[in-house]
């Protein structure tokens, strides 16, 4: 009887990377690249910048693996680096005000890859989804960057107000306000298409 190959845990992978096994880091990249890309794309709004950001985040993670103490989950740590890399990219391009990232952020859920797209979707449904996707991306890019960041972190990643406040270096009240105005604007732009 064939035995199913067991996926190594993140702790095991980190240990193997520390011992110089690059294949273990490849496993980490392949495991988390999709979620990191979703956030980077949401924050930056274009494919090339999002891909660069994810690459940059993995490289930074590899080079600073010694600093990873294992106090938070590997995903949480990678996630922090991705958000910082996206903020850095926007800052370099002069598109964003100064926002810093703090250490205490710890999203509480361990997350893996997204489930694949439903195979049952017919061409009409696909077209409608693409059109709606365009509207969503246009709408989210119309938000000021603080509102956009709050919305992406909340709606896509499901982070708590406290975690978002830590990332955006503002109070939880400000997070609520940014989410509120962002949602109001999105409701205005997308609401009629979602009825």
């Amino acid at each position: 009887m064939e035995q199913e190959e067991r996926m190594p845990s993140d702790e095991e992978l980190v240990e193997r990377i520390r011992q110089g096994e690059q294949a273990a880091f490849q496993t980490v990249v392949e495991k988390y690249q999709q979620r990191m890309y979703a956030v980077a794309y949401g924050l930056l709004g274009n494919r090339e910048d999002a891909l660069d950001t994810v690459q940059e985040a993995f490289v930074k993670a590899y080079r600073s693996l010694a600093k990873f103490k294992g106090e938070s989950s590997l995903y949480t740590w990678l996630y922090r680096i991705t958000v910082n890399a996206a903020i850095d990219l926007e800052r370099k391009a002069g598109r964003r005000e100064e926002v810093e990232f703090r250490e205490e952020i710890e999203p509480d859920e361990e997350k893996g890859e997204y489930p694949a797209a439903p195979p049952s979707e017919n061409p009409v449904e696909q077209l409608m989804r693409k059109e709606l996707g365009g509207l969503i991306e246009d709408a989210i890019q119309k938000l000021p960057s603080e509102q956009r960041t709050a919305i992406v972190l909340r709606e896509i990643e499901g982070l708590s107000y406290k975690e978002i406040a830590g990332i955006m270096k503002c109070s939880e009240g400000t997070v609520m306000s940014r989410l509120h105005y962002g949602r109001k604007k999105l409701q205005e732009l997308l609401g009629p298409h979602l009825e």
Binding site: R95, Q141, P144, E146
Partner: protein, 164 residues
């Protein structure tokens, strides 16, 4: 013999200069003609006499505006980024059924050439152009078009352009 050597060097240098001049002109001309993309960032700002303050993202623009305008509040209503291919245009909706069209016309003398048109609905399903302007802006430069009525004050549209 010495004079001949100097002459040779001078001729070589002159030929080199000519080749370089030609190559540089060609490269620059190609950039003008290439189908490049302009990234236009449009900030829709509501200026009013309300609670003093300005969104951090538009502080730089507001600092410039404050020299001339007497508004106390500058609120960023929305930020729109459009990548426009040379020769193409993008449409941006403004409050009160106004529409702004931004045309990327070319790249001339280190400046991006843009045309901006503002149209408004006349009420019978038709629209008329109220403003039509053409300008050349340096990369990363900002121009402001404002004065339209909006909810609590005046609409200020700040347009920045960069080559992609």
């Amino acid at each position: 013999m010495k004079n001949a050597s100097v002459l040779n060097r001078a001729v070589t240098l002159f030929a080199f200069l000519l080749i370089l001049f030609w190559a540089s002109s060609q490269a620059l001309a190609q950039r003008d003609e290439a189908t490049e993309t302009v990234r236009v960032t449009v900030y829709l700002i509501e200026a009013s006499h309300g609670t003093p303050g300005a969104d951090p993202e538009i502080e730089g623009i507001v600092r410039q505006l404050k020299g001339t305008f007497g508004y106390s509040s500058y609120r960023l209503e929305s930020k729109i980024r459009k990548d426009i291919k040379m020769g193409d245009a993008e449409k941006i909706s403004l409050p009160r059924s106004r529409v702004m069209y931004v045309y990327a016309q070319g790249y001339e003398g280190n400046r991006i050439k843009l045309k901006v048109k503002v149209s408004e609905k006349t009420g019978r399903g038709e629209s008329r152009d109220t403003l039509n302007t053409e300008f050349r802006i340096v990369e990363g430069g900002t121009i402001v078009i404002g004065g339209y009525d909006c909810d609590a004050g005046k609409l200020i549209v700040a347009i920045s352009a960069d080559m992609r």
